[in-house]
């Protein structure tokens, strides 16, 4: 009797172990698939969206933002689209974001995946111009203005005209007697709404909104704008590498550096 009890226990443990192994195998496949759904570098999110991973761990995929949008800009990504299924995205060339002053999509979000604070000023009042959905990027090779033609469709469409897109004048070297009126995107004002992309007259838009992460570089700690007092502030009173003593001047003067 006691031995059969032992067998039962062993059988039970074996069964449990086998189930756990099966679960781990299934989990590996499942987890692998889930991880691939995270990879959607070109997805454009609604205003106020948390950055990348934080957005995905907060959005419950309810579509409340989609229903709140009065322009039909937003849609929930369907399985097979290049964003996690059920999360909100928009395609500016189809319907851009019209930057509603009351930001209904963000205000409606029940989870905070669209954060009100990201589209509010310091006093907490809504300011949709602070949205950073993406960044407009201009393809000079296919821009009519760059060819020397008079096109300023994107500039005129920009809700932050003369801030997010400005016109720069230069000499048209091809004709020698005309000007080029070139639209130029200002990174620190562009909201990524995509009205410019929608307005672009070329067959395929020559100004397009891409996620900021994709477009923008990062200088890192090695370079500082010495002429900018605020940027200068990034430098701590310099402490030399490998030395815990004093400041940089002392280090230069104390003879460790070979002055020959």
């Amino acid at each position: 009797m006691s031995s059969s009890g032992g067998m039962d226990r062993r059988g039970f443990l074996q069964g449990l172990l086998r189930s756990a192994a099966a679960a781990a195998a299934g989990g590996a496949v499942w987890g692998g698939f889930v991880a691939t759904t995270k990879h959607a570098p070109l997805a454009l999110r609604p205003p106020g969206a948390l950055a990348g991973d934080a957005f995905l761990s907060t959005c419950i995929r309810c579509g409340t933002c989609v229903e709140a949008c009065p322009y039909g800009t937003l849609s929930l990504a369907t399985p097979g689209e290049a964003a996690a299924a059920g999360t909100p995205v928009f395609t500016p060339r189809d319907v851009p974001c019209h930057l509603c002053q009351d930001v209904p999509c963000t205000v409606a979000c029940p989870t905070g995946a669209l954060a009100r604070s990201a589209v509010s000023d310091e006093t907490g009042a809504l300011d949709v111009d602070r949205a950073r959905m993406g960044l407009a990027v201009l393809d000079r090779d296919h821009c009519l203005a760059a060819w020397g033609l008079r096109c300023d469709a994107c500039y005129r469409a920009c809700p932050l005209i003369d801030k997010a897109i400005v016109i720069e004048h230069s000499r048209n070297e091809r004709t020698g007697r005309h000007a080029v009126l070139m639209p130029v995107v200002q990174d620190d004002h562009c909201t990524g709404c995509g009205l410019c992309e929608r307005a672009c007259v070329t067959e395929k838009a020559s100004i397009r909104v891409l996620p900021r992460d994709v477009v923008q570089g990062r200088v890192g700690d090695d370079y500082v704008r010495g002429w900018d007092a605020e940027d200068e502030g990034r430098i701590d009173p310099a402490t030399p590498v490998g030395s815990e003593q004093g400041n940089a001047l002392d280090w230069l003067n104390d003879g460790e550096v070979d002055h020959d």
Partner: protein, 270 residues
């Protein structure tokens, strides 16, 4: 032999299931304000938040810092299902139930199998939370054919049909009640939530003729083990409160009633 007459509870269930979808679709398409959102989260009459507590749990496991609306909504929904009991969501609300019921119907009648593989769903439930924590994404929501279906019907389907078709084919060709009865972690979650719920199927042994129709028609036939043996409530929380057994019973031996504790099964009169 399943009776061809359409039962009362199946009509009621379809009414509730489709009603929820119609209201949500109307919210999306016509701006109705009765119920807006989808089954993951919605607003009832623009005031009461309703959230899928399992999706909420996954997001919390994934490390999301969630807003109050979603958390309150999850508590509201949890309370409702905990009070009702069993897997009421599965039979009365889940849109995938329409698909799996169709697959079941096409399969025709079979003798009940000995239950096996029915614990996989609890492994899937655990994995949903573990994988959410590991990937930072609500893991079941990322693959859920339920989500694909209700979200698809409301917001556009895309390739979501593949997920729904996979479940249909699995249930139809591979395993009876294969998805809902074996794999689905949301069902497992609801069976835990509804463990102590109040609304249960009551068996009256005195009226039972032991015809076995109820057991044959039950998608979780193991929950009806008391039938023909003793009076009392079906206490197993895998019961979806679907009422098929009641619809099919010709002898008034089954009905919905308030829960009676386990003691009455043993002592209940026959």
């Amino acid at each position: 032999m399943t009776s061809l007459a359409i039962g009362k509870y199946v009509v009621l269930r379809r009414f509730v299931q489709l009603g929820a979808l119609v209201l949500l679709f109307g919210g999306r398409a016509f701006g109705w304000t009765i119920l807006r959102g989808d089954l993951s989260h919605s607003q009832l009459l623009g005031v009461v938040p309703l959230s899928d507590p399992f999706a909420t749990a996954q997001l919390l496991a994934a490390g999301g810092s969630l807003g109050a609306d979603v958390l309150i909504g999850a508590v509201v929904v949890l309370a409702v299902y905990a009070l009702l009991g069993g897997r009421t969501f599965c039979a009365w609300v889940c849109p995938l139930n329409l698909v799996t019921d169709l697959a079941n119907r096409l399969r025709g009648d079979e003798d009940p199998q000995t239950p096996s593989g029915r614990s996989i769903r609890f492994w899937a439930l655990g994995l949903s939370l573990v994988l959410s924590a590991l990937t930072g994404v609500a893991a079941f929501e990322a693959v859920s054919p339920i989500g694909m279906l209700h979200r698809g019907l409301i917001f556009g389907m895309g390739a979501g049909w593949f997920f729904v078709a996979a479940v249909f084919l699995f249930d139809w060709a591979v395993r009876r009640n294969g998805f809902c009865g074996h794999l689905c972690p949301l069902g497992a979650f609801h069976s835990l939530v509804g463990r102590f719920g109040l609304l249960r199927v009551r068996h009256v042994h005195m009226n039972c003729t032991d015809c076995g129709l109820c057991v044959r028609v039950c998608p979780e036939h193991q929950v009806l083990e008391l039938v023909g043996k003793a009076s009392g409530s079906v206490l197993d929380s895998q019961c979806t409160n679907c009422g098929r057994c009641i619809d099919v019973c010709d002898d008034q031996a089954l009905r919905f009633d308030f829960r009676r504790n386990a003691l009455s099964i043993r002592t209940g009169g026959s």
